[in-house]
């Protein structure tokens, strides 16, 4: 039976000088679920102090997050090479300088962008002023001149014109020049915001500007002004894009350095988090934590290396010695292909240490339930394909794959069920290996077989449910035996008494059904079957009370309360088991709904011109999609509910503590 991995509590002492090396070796091992030594014995609290480190978890972590932030800015991730836990700690001051250098490069690029943005906004303001103040056709000067727009007409020296153009290129100014074929002077119009007039004076002076009344043949051309402004704006936008690219370059240009820094900071951060659990005296350091029993030898070797053979080590079994006040963490060890189902289990809770690992059972029960509710090979194929394609895509993008793995498994289960029921997209394309589900639901039953009507399908789901519930009860017995909880095993609702009631009740019920709902077993038989377990259940409250009295937590012997609790317990047991069993009828219900929906879509397709007509094909395709999505979702959710509520409630407490070692694989938190 698959259980949780055996754990051992490590308690060790070593010279304080070896503290750093020990933390790094333990990090490399990646197996320590740290426990503070001061938790082991309350008297140690005052005698020990936390182990001081130069590199704190917060300090290294803060810098590490900032480096990660740089990579996120460029939508990347650090290229993590094999971390070297044996290296020297990072000089945080130097690391901080590197981070600040990158940060300053980015800030400089942003500042440049902002300066360009201000210029762009000025140009935009000019553009608005020019557009608003000049008509499209006349382009005449002076008319409707804006309060903020300055328009100057004059002439400049032909020789100085190129220099003037160059000087004004970077300013929010529009220069319209009309060089004549001959002549030294060029008619020009300068448009700017009034605020910028003074700053233009030097450039105009150098170009030998002379104000002039322009001849009518020298119009101020609004469109040319706007074109000039747009050209400048485009230059600024290009410069802004280049500045934005500078942000990326500041990071991508130092990818290797930043990746290495990230890795070293991460190592230091994790080593510091391990040392955070250490306690020290003047010259020694003490530490403790849970390690899987299978790694005991490797741990001892690592500590010997780190401490030069001076480390003193003790190992304790769970619930004994120094570990008696602690709860051992739980490590689930399942093959990789069960990861999706392990996720379903841990989503509910963590099993208690020493109890059975529900994962393989959930894998079987969940897939069986899904298959029974979604039994169509064609639909299963689609779901499986979605799962496989999604899985490949998620792997490529480095994303989680559990959901797509589940899709793939569910698809496979549905394909197997579809083969058993002879159903491919609702059509009997192959002979049913078990019984023709669709035929039975449709009342045709053309092929006959072991199931002839929906009552037969309901019967299968009830029997399936009973098998699941009995399995749950048996797993509970196993757990109770392993954990030594004898009282619960004997008189608990899901112990021997409860299981006896359920199995006896099932036998009675089947007999009643087979008799045509007429005859129950004779009274003495009923009494013999149900009497003992009912009496056993009645022992539960007084036994619990006696246990509490032994620990001084209760007084007296309230018989009335016991009787009341017994009655309630009986009611809960009978009604609970009955309800749990009948709950599995939803398996039949969803399977029947699946078949019925397909039948309805076929009927509609027939009504619109036949299944092979254009309309018919459209209806069948959309119908299949709808059924896959809706029924698939329903079946998945209901299977989960049946596992979580009906199955787990028999044996799974979910009160365990997950094993979280501090390792380079994850954060260990």
């Amino acid at each position: 039976m698959s259980g949780t991995a055996p754990m051992r509590l490590l308690v060790a002492a070593a010279p304080a000088s070896a503290s750093d090396a020990i933390s790094r070796e333990l990090l490399a091992l990646g197996a320590l679920d740290s426990v503070s030594v001061r938790e082991l014995d309350a008297t140690w609290k005052d005698k020990l102090r936390p182990d001081k480190t130069e590199t704190t978890e917060e300090g290294a972590g803060e810098l590490r997050k900032r480096v990660e932030g740089f990579f996120q800015l460029v939508r990347g991730a650090p290229e993590i090479r094999k971390p070297d836990t044996a290296g020297d700690p990072v000089d945080l001051a130097a690391a901080s300088r590197v981070v600040e250098e990158v940060s300053e490069s980015i800030a400089a690029s942003r500042e440049r962008q902002k300066v360009l943005q201000d210029e762009l906004l000025r140009l935009e303001e000019m553009r608005k002023q020019v557009s608003a103040r000049f008509s499209a056709t006349a382009g005449e000067l002076g008319k409707g001149a804006s309060g903020f727009l300055s328009v100057r007409a004059g002439t400049v020296s032909r020789k100085a014109l190129p220099r003037l153009e160059a000087e004004l290129a970077s300013m929010p100014v529009a220069l319209i020049a009309r060089p004549p074929d001959q002549g030294e002077r060029v008619d020009s119009i300068v448009m700017s915001l009034k605020r910028d007039e003074r700053s233009l004076e030097p450039a105009l002076a150098r170009a030998e500007w002379q104000p002039a009344e322009l001849a009518s043949g020298s119009p101020a051309n609004r469109d040319e002004a706007l074109k000039g402004i747009e050209a400048k704006a485009e230059t600024l936008r290009a410069a802004q894009r280049a500045a934005a690219a500078g942000v990326e370059t500041a990071i991508t240009g130092r990818t290797v350095e930043l990746s290495e820094l990230w890795t070293r900071l991460r190592v230091d951060e994790l080593a510091a988090s391990i040392r955070a659990g250490f306690s020290s005296t003047e010259r020694a350091v003490l530490f403790s934590g849970w390690i899987p029993a299978s790694l005991r030898a490797a741990t001892e070797a690592a500590l010997e290396r780190a401490s030069g053979g001076t480390c003193v080590i003790e190992w304790h079994e769970p619930a004994s010695g120094e570990a008696r006040r602690l709860s051992a963490p739980v490590q689930l060890r399942n093959p990789r292909f069960l990861d999706a189902f392990q996720g379903l289990v841990t989503n509910y809770g963590t099993p208690e240490y020493g109890a059975v690992d529900p994962t393989p059972f959930v894998a079987v029960s969940y897939l069986a339930m899904f298959g029974l509710m979604f039994g169509d090979a064609g639909h299963g194929l689609v779901v499986a394909l979605v799962g496989v394609l999604g899985l490949l895509r998620a792997k490529k993008r480095g994303r989680k794959t559990a959901l797509f793995e589940l899709f793939a498994w569910c698809g496979l289960s549905a394909m197997i069920a579809g083969a058993l029921f002879g159903s491919w997209f609702g059509l009997p394309l192959t002979r049913a290996l078990w019984f023709d589900f669709h035929g039975v639901v449709a009342g045709e039953n053309a092929l006959g077989g072991p199931v002839r009507d929906v009552y037969g399908i309901l019967g299968i789901s009830i029997k399936f449910g009973m098998a699941v519930l009995v399995l749950g009860i048996l797993l509970n017995w196993y757990n109770l035996i392993r954990l030594g909880r004898w009282r619960a095993l004997l008189v608990g609702k899901h112990g021997l008494a409860g299981g006896w009631i359920y199995i006896a009740g099932a036998w009675i019920a089947f007999g009643f059904v087979e008799s045509g709902y007429r005859t129950l077993p004779p009274g003495p038989v009923l009494a013999a079957l149900l009497g003992p377990p009912v009496l056993l259940l009645g022992l539960a409250p007084p036994l619990e009370h006696l246990e509490k009295r032994r620990h001084g937590e209760a007084k007296g012997f309230p018989v009335g309360i016991f009787l009341l609790e017994w009655a309630v317990e009986l009611l809960e047991a009978f009604s609970g088991y009955l309800a749990n069993t009948l709950s599995f009828m939803r398996v039949a219900g969803l399977g029947i709904a699946h078949a019925t929906l397909m039948g309805a879509f076929f009927a509609i397709a027939d009504m619109v011109g036949g299944r092979l007509s254009v309309a018919g094909v459209a209806i069948l395709v959309s119908g299949n999609v709808l059924v896959i999505v809706l029924e698939g979702l329903s079946a998945g959710i209901q299977a989960l509910r049946l596992n979580y509520y009906e199955f787990f409630s028999k044996y799974f407490t979910g009160t365990g503590r997950a094993y979280r070692p501090i390792s380079l694989e994850g954060t260990g938190k």
């Binding site: 900032r66 932030g69 996120q72 800015l73 940060s103 980015i106 800030a107 690029s109 942003r110 500042e111 440049r112 962008q113 902002k114 943005q117 201000d118 906004l121 000025r122 935009e124 303001e125 000019m126 608005k128 608003a132 804006s146 309060g147 903020f148 929010p172 915001l193 605020r195 802004q240 500045a243 934005a244 942000v247």
Partner: protein, 352 residues
């Protein structure tokens, strides 16, 4: 008038879902502690504020981000009023008018600065929200106005016309927009109370209580500011308050005005919460002002949250939603500002 359940059943569920998605305090604190705006915006990835990264990446200008944030807030009001029937629709418009007035105030400051102080409005005017919020305010006409008369003419056809006609000339003469801005704030509350009159009796009661509280808190904040910055007497200050709030003890205010302990008097009016906040403050009146304003803001938030535990089929859920969203956006804005200028978490919290 449509039934309250018909009006609010779906709306309340939708707004409560959104309230449930507000950013936790820890995230807002982290944003304020971020070393740079880029790092702060990374913290907003995966939230509805991640759209703020686009204007920042394009321009490197925090003002572009703030403009985007303002547009988000305006769009939020617009989305809320869509598909709403009267009188709720008009009430939401009246609430949104606060943003329109804030936008107009920004435009007026630019206009005043450019017209009368030779300032450059070309850069900041690019970030004004030009689309209609509630009324068709032509901000370009406002910015182009040659004088006070032209300003009033530019605002013709809007509720701001009369305010501009009454106050713009005085503002130019005084060289300060102070009175004009106060008048705009009073106008906002007037429009709000006018819109409330059309609400049903239950909604009106809830709205009057909540908006009345906001008036009270605004008045108290104004009093403290007038004393600290305004250089005016108690009588002048009291005359400028918004008229729809709870009556204030004029004698106590005047007495505290003379002694310079106004922040303590106001703290006393806030009850235990105000005095608690002041107990942790310094002796400087300005720092106590800052504490008072924080207390007032927190009171407003507490009252907004109380609305959520009341009758779900009232305008209270709309008021609570808008108040809480406003607070979150203000904190995001301030956090980004703190990241830009390296102010750190404590100052950012104080300033927001």
């Amino acid at each position: 008038m449509p039934s309250r359940i018909g009006t609010y059943a779906f709306l309340a569920a939708r707004l409560r879902t959104r309230i449930g998605k507000l950013l936790p305090d820890e995230r807002l604190e982290e944003i304020a502690k971020a070393a740079t705006v880029d790092e702060a915006l990374l913290l907003l990835r995966g939230t509805r504020y991640e759209v703020l990264a686009a204007p920042w990446n394009a321009s490197g200008d925090l003002r572009a981000v703030e403009a985007a944030l303002r547009s988000m807030e305006i769009d939020m009001h617009a989305e809320l009023r869509r598909d709403r029937e009267e009188p709720l629709r008009s009430f939401i418009d009246a609430l949104a008018q606060r943003l329109e007035a804030a936008n107009l105030k920004d435009a007026l400051r630019l206009w005043f600065d450019a017209r009368f102080r030779g300032g450059d409005m070309s850069v900041r005017s690019g970030y004004l929200h030009r689309a209609t919020v509630v009324h068709p305010v032509d901000l370009d006409a406002v910015l182009e106005a040659a004088d006070a008369e032209a300003l009033a003419a530019a605002l013709a056809g809007t509720p701001y016309e009369n305010v501009a006609a009454a106050e713009a000339g005085r503002a130019v003469a005084a060289g300060s927009l102070f009175e004009l801005e106060l008048a705009l704030d009073r106008l906002h509350f007037k429009l709000l109370f006018d819109a409330m009159k059309a609400l049903g009796p239950v909604d009106r009661k809830v709205a009057e209580r909540q908006v009345g509280l906001e008036v009270d808190l605004t008045n108290l904040a104004w009093l403290v500011r007038f004393r600290a910055y305004g250089g005016m007497g108690a009588k002048e200050a009291l005359a400028r308050l918004i008229p729809w709030g709870a009556p204030l003890d004029a004698k106590a205010i005047s007495a505290a005005w003379e002694t310079g302990n106004l922040s303590e008097a106001v703290g006393g009016m806030l009850g235990d919460r105000g005095l608690q906040v002041l107990a942790g403050g310094g002796g400087n009146e300005l720092s106590r002002l800052s504490l008072i304003e924080r207390a007032l803001r927190e009171l407003g938030l507490v009252e907004a949250r109380k609305l959520l535990s009341g009758d779900p089929f009232t305008v209270g859920v709309v008021l609570a939603y808008l108040r809480l969203e406003r607070e979150e956006m203000a904190r995001v804005r301030t956090g980004l500002g703190a990241a830009r200028y390296g102010a750190g978490a404590a100052r950012a919290r104080e300033a927001s």
